[in-house]
Symmetry: C2
Subunit: 144 residues, 2 copies
C-alpha cells in the first residue's frame, strides 16, 4: 500500500476518534458525564453488578482506568461499591437508582449520536458498519 492511501486510513481513524469523542462529550456534559464514563454505566445496565476486573475486560481499558472512573462515578452517586463476599480482594460495582435513571438517559443520547454519526450513508453500509469496524479493531487488537 502506498503512503497516501495508508495515511488516508490512519488519519481518518484518528480524526474520527477525536470528533466522535468530542461530540459525545458535548452531549454527555449536560448529564454531568465525561466520555468513557457512559460506557461503564451502560455496561453495568446491561450486565448487572460486576467486579472491576470484569469491567476492565468489558470496556477494553486497563484496571487503573477503572479505578479512577469508578471513583468519580461513585462520588457522583451513580454507582455503589461493595466488597465481594466470596473474594475479599474484589469489589462489586453496581448502579444506584440515580445511576439507573442516568443510564436510561444515556441510552437516548446514544441512539441520537449513532443516527447523527451515520447520517447520509446508504442503509446497506450502515448495516455492515459494525462488522467492518469490529474487523478493523480485531486486526490491531493486541489485548487478546
Amino acid at each position: 500500500m502506498d503512503f497516501e492511501h495508508a495515511d488516508a486510513i490512519n488519519q481518518a481513524i484518528r480524526l474520527l476518534s477525536l470528533r466522535h469523542r468530542a461530540r459525545a462529550a458535548s452531549l454527555l456534559a449536560p448529564l454531568g458525564l465525561h466520555p468513557g464514563q457512559e460506557a461503564l454505566l451502560l455496561e453495568l445496565a446491561r450486565h448487572g453488578p460486576m467486579i472491576q476486573a470484569q469491567l476492565s475486560e468489558a470496556l477494553g481499558c486497563e484496571p487503573p482506568s477503572v479505578t479512577l472512573m469508578t471513583r468519580k462515578l461513585e462520588a457522583g452517586g451513580h454507582i455503589r461499591r461493595a466488597p465481594a463476599p466470596s473474594d475479599r480482594r474484589a469489589s462489586i460495582v453496581e448502579l444506584t437508582d440515580s445511576g439507573k435513571a442516568l443510564a436510561e438517559q444515556v441510552k437516548q443520547l446514544w441512539c441520537a449520536l449513532a443516527e447523527e454519526t451515520v447520517r447520509g450513508l446508504p442503509a446497506a453500509t450502515v448495516a455492515e458498519l459494525p462488522g467492518i469496524l469490529n474487523t478493523l479493531t480485531g486486526n490491531v487488537d493486541t489485548r487478546r
Copy 2:
C-alpha cells in the same frame, strides 16, 4: 434506530479508537514517539514549515495541544521553532534533519499499520473506507 444497533456503532468506534491508538503507540515507541506526535511530523513533512495555528487546524486539535506537542518534539530535536518575521505573535515550526529522517521512518510504519488494520477486508471495502470514515467524521464534526 434501536439502542442495540446504536450501541454497536458507538462502542465499535470507541474501541477502534483505543486499539488503533494503542497499536500505533507500540509501533511508534521504538522511535521515541507518542501517538499524536507522528501526525505533526507527517503534516510538516507534507506541507513544509507552518505556524502553530495552521498545525492546530490541520491536525484537528486545539492550540494548547500543539504548544505541548511542539515543545516535546523540539526537546527531542525533531523540530525547530523560529519567530515569524512578518508576524511577531506567530512562530514558524519546521522539521530538523533528524525530524525529516524520523518522518520517513514514520511513513514506513504508517503503511504497515494501515495494511495491518484493513487485513481481511474485501478490496472494495478498503477502497471506500476512507470515504466512509470521513463521512462519519464530518457528521459529528462541530469544528467547521
